[in-house]
Subunit: 643 residues, 2 copies
């Protein structure tokens, strides 16, 4: 039985860690991105995304500019705006969003079609190049935006736009019609959300068609190309025979390994999990679980990053996780949060919540500068400024966050993730309220209001104060992260000040407590947060002989600014003594950093020598991985050799 | 005062190690390559190189086929044939070589021009594209072939061809003429050899012009392109503004770092050193030494490989020496032998001979399969069959030697190196005979005949039996490799059975002994050959925490076939116990391999774990690096983590 998702507006984040992120996103990033989308920011890649809609609507003269999927930047921004209005109402912003929605509505064609590239440039070529041209992808994002805007503001103008768009898509694709599949999966997610917002089952059925059809005809894109006789000669020119790139090589049930473009893959898995939950489809759930296990057990960086190779922004083979050549796209980590959440709604297993937490505290937010104005698309685990961004193999790995991208998927994706964070914290079934993440907040659910206080991720102290709305018995289920030592004397759960025996109450990473809840009932959790040494499997070539440090869910890294040059010469001792401390100043103020009793091996002047390098004691400093590259260009490593 | 080079025919190799290589080259490789050049081998890349000459000579009909520098394959093969005839006379082969020379002579144009690509395809475009079109490169190789053939056989037909060719080049380029420079350096080496063979100083002066002119106008190739208005649209399309690629960015005196295409660079350095020696030019020698030091102290693999990045087959930056992405072209290592030899002729410093030895026993001969029929262009220090040759970044790194290449520079380069090996062993000045390498042989020099007996590189036992040809005092100078511990009790030098105090007699890596030599005088050397652990500088990111093993001049590696899967899980112990043994069977028969007391770390099923991986004792087997990939496709590593 699928647990229900929690809407963004049911939650008010009041968290020492995340509130500042939300504030930055709302106060800095959304207005900044609005300016970018309106081409009002100097020195960043031109967007033209809103102007494209104006031109398509007949409100402006000019040519289409940008990627063929430029529309999605507007959609993702609008989705973020919608969530932000739930977090912090803003009449002016909402008015401007309404204006943009008016333009979008005007741009929509009489038959429901909506894609500014084709409306402006090549109206006769609509729907002929699903492989490259992203019409369904942009539609999916617009559906997500419309549902979010409707849920927050109650306004249904954009919802009706995407309903007409979805109806147009249904008129065109499916059984007995064109057996098309999206070149970049995403519309399946949008259709599932639209189905839940409207109750119209045809949207869910359309999503199921796109998922079930995938890989049935593994030559679809090649046949499509032969039929249309033209290629989209953009920056985005794909091989129609490469059907692993977009996971069209096998049916979704036959796929046992995550392959191809990581964002396409994880969006598809998200939709699969969503549909499996809605239809209580065990076979589809098993397909999801197989892919989930392959990603998280064979193809994921310690930071949660996925898609290790730049070529195709793709999964490589099992255990091929190079640190200095990593791709690990921000969007792919965000998509893993989406996937994890859908899996959790089907099965409250801590392994899903653990990964969601790993993504949230590491490889998603590493994508954004502390000031909110710069973004990483690629999230390496090792950077060497003389090489990264400059030399073959490392050219995609930048040592500093750029201001914007021509392909601007990641910045807007971060906005919609962080503004909607509240909805990832919970799910609620008929019997149980599930807490997946320790995030301070006031949440309003069907069975209870809950106030969470948390010093996470820096301290192991969390409390839940419950105000039940029902007199019936129900269950509170709280995710206990995998790394908490429940045998430890300092680990406790208290109900109204009295300790509860923890181990017996835990099933698959969730602590369960069932009772008739009374107003003011309080669950308190406490646990130590030691610094942990993590070893990678010996199958991961890049990490052999090395260790990484974690504390709570946070992965740490070493930067040159703290540790001097040639940080590969540093060593973590076998007997680790680590001191966690709160950084008092600079951009890292308030962050928990680490001091380590390490070593520095002396570099000999000789390139090769039979003399063992001298080992000197050195105090090392590690900072949270997500905060790297905020203090100028310098070297960075997550994994260091152990001595 | 420059020492003189020794001609190939002055030396008869009788060496337990190298004789088999020469035999394989002469009996297998030269005939095989002759067939390839004549397009008589199925299943390898088509050559057409001799047919191109036939067509250019008007002896055959057809089109030019191959790389724009296809002629050089014939020249390098002919050069190898010339040396092979000195090693092992072969009347039939010599007759066939004479026939090919006849064809080449017929192909030469009335004005001395000789390049089949332009003669056949674009006669009106001669000499307009020095950057890409390799006319001077092919000319240089033909000069080297002609000199070799003349020196061995006494036949001067090809010598006269290249004299006319050189005269044609001189008529066209130089002070007051076209101030051209070669796009791929090589003609400078050929001109220097032609100068020595003929005594014609204008050839040396032409070489000096090409060297001194280089980098004076760093825009030369761009201006050349603008002037001619066309580009060579082959597989070989170069950026005329990238003047570091072919070392035209600065004058040769200003260049302090080795940059760009490694073979171009090392050929240029070779010519620089050759000219510096001939002209006793201290400034030019210093320029050579600066570049030598940069390569060998900052940019060289432990195997002697240079040019670490595939992009441009080029030097990267200092200390950027990735093992699994290495380029390390066979030709570049061969060129380092050329460079080292010229440096040695100017200054008998062991550091040059040590590198020559490192190249010869490692990254040159790794380029050839044990059966002589397959070749590596790229010589990685780590190979992982699931990734190497397949995934972005590693696609150039092949786990098996292919049979031939479209760009077939390396196989023919190996032929000419190994057949001429004798000439690298010695140089001779007015006062001194220098022995640079421990290679068993009978050598005939001006001052003496010397019989060398050696069990090198497997055993530390070498003797020199001297038959003087003069009654005057002269000096024998014998290179003592850097790794020999002269303090060790087992290390000795004996003259006629009596020990000589070693340390005092050694200057810059050479042991000097001056006397009136008598017939039968015998110098004997003995030294232990322990297995040595080598550490890379901490500046080399790829090697931190790792060690490599050497014994004598031979670098060892670990292969999957001996050590099982996932060899990155192996560890070398701090306290190494290594047993050297002679392999008794298979393709490695007669090779000294190593047994090591190592460990294998157990791979956990978890991708990341806080559990320290279990360490199990494991006997590891290492084989000489040059012999890798002779027993099927498998994993290979030179560097392993130390535990």
């Amino acid at each position: 039985m699928k647990a229900q998702e929690i809407a963004v507006k049911q939650v008010e984040i009041r968290d020492s860690f995340w509130s500042q992120f939300q504030k930055k996103i709302i106060d800095v990033v959304i207005p900044f991105q609005e300016k970018v989308l309106n081409d009002e920011v100097e020195g960043v890649a031109k967007s033209h995304a809103i102007e494209n809609f104006r031109i398509a609507a007949g409100l402006s003269e000019g040519e289409f500019y940008g990627m063929v999927f430029q529309d999605s930047d507007v959609a993702k921004w609008l989705e973020g705006v919608a969530y932000s209005l739930a977090v912090k109402p803003n009449v002016e912003l909402e008015a401007r969003a309404d204006e943009i929605i008016d333009i979008i509505a005007k741009a929509q064609q009489a038959d429901g079609y909506l894609d500014t590239y084709f409306i402006i440039k090549e109206p006769e070529r609509r729907w002929q190049n699903l492989q490259e041209c992203h019409e369904l992808y942009c539609a999916g994002h617009m559906m997500e935006a419309a549902v979010a805007y409707y849920q927050t503001t109650g306004k249904d103008k954009l919802l009706h736009v995407v309903e007409r768009l979805a109806d147009h898509i249904i008129s065109r694709f499916g059984e007995g019609k064109e057996r098309g599949i999206p070149g970049h999966q995403e519309v399946e997610i949008g259709l599932m959300k639209l189905y839940r917002a409207t109750g119209n089952k045809s949207y869910k059925e359309m999503a199921r068609f796109f998922l079930d059809e995938r890989g049935k005809n593994s030559d679809y894109f090649y046949q499509e190309k032969v039929k249309r006789g033209w290629q989209h000669w953009g920056q985005y020119n794909l091989d129609p025979l490469d059907n692993t790139y977009n996971q069209a090589h096998q049916t979704i049930y036959e796929q046992k390994k995550a392959v191809g473009h990581a964002v396409r893959a994880a969006y598809m898995y998200t939709a699969m999990a969503d549909l499996a939950g809605e239809d209580n489809d065990k076979k589809l759930y098993d397909a999801c679980l197989t892919l989930w296990n392959n990603i998280t057990r064979q193809q994921m960086y310690i930071t949660g990053g996925i898609g290790s190779t730049v070529e195709g922004e793709a999964f490589s083979i099992d255990y091929d996780l190079p640190n200095d050549m990593a791709y690990s796209e921000t969007c792919a980590s965000i998509a893993m949060v989406f996937f994890a959440k859908r899996m959790l709604e089907m099965e409250p297993d801590g392994k899903f919540a653990d990964i969601m937490e790993r993504e949230l505290y590491n490889s998603t937010i590493s994508g954004i500068q502390m000031d909110g104005k710069k973004y990483f698309y690629v999230n390496p685990l090792e950077v060497n400024p003389k090489i990264s961004g400059k030399i073959f193999g490392y050219r995609h790995v930048l040592p500093n966050r750029p201001g914007w991208y021509e392909c601007a998927c990641c910045p807007t994706n971060l906005v919609r993730l962080i503004t909607s964070l509240g909805s990832y914290t919970w799910s609620e079934s008929d019997t149980t309220i599930y807490s997946h993440l320790f995030i301070g907040q006031k949440a309003s659910m069907r069975k209870a209001d809950v106030i969470v206080e948390s010093k996470y991720p820096w301290e192991g102290k969390v409390s839940y104060q419950i105000s039940p709305k029902t007199e019936e018995e129900f269950t509170m289920a709280i995710h206990i992260p995998y790394y908490i030592n429940i045998e430890d004397n300092n680990t406790y759960v208290m109900l109204n000040g009295e300790k509860i025996e923890l181990a017996a109450q835990i099933t698959k990473g969730y602590f369960y407590l069932t009772r008739h809840w009374k107003e003011g009932d309080k669950i308190e959790l406490g646990f130590d947060m030691p610094v942990r040494k993590v070893f990678a499997s010996q199958r991961v070539r890049a990490d052999v002989g090395c260790v990484a440090l974690m504390r709570g869910p946070v992965v740490y890294c070493f930067e040159g600014v703290d540790n001097g040059e040639e940080i590969q010469a540093l060593r973590i001792p076998k007997e680790l003594k680590a001191e966690a401390y709160v950084c008092e100043e600079g951009v890292l103020k308030g962050t928990v950093c680490l001091k380590i009793n390490g070593y520095r091996m002396q570099s000999s002047e000789e390139l090769y020598s039979e003399k063992r390098p001298e080992k000197l004691d050195a105090e090392l400093v590690a900072i949270p991985y997500y905060a790297w590259a905020n203090r100028g260009e310098n070297q960075m490593r997550v994994w260091l050799p152990e001595e």
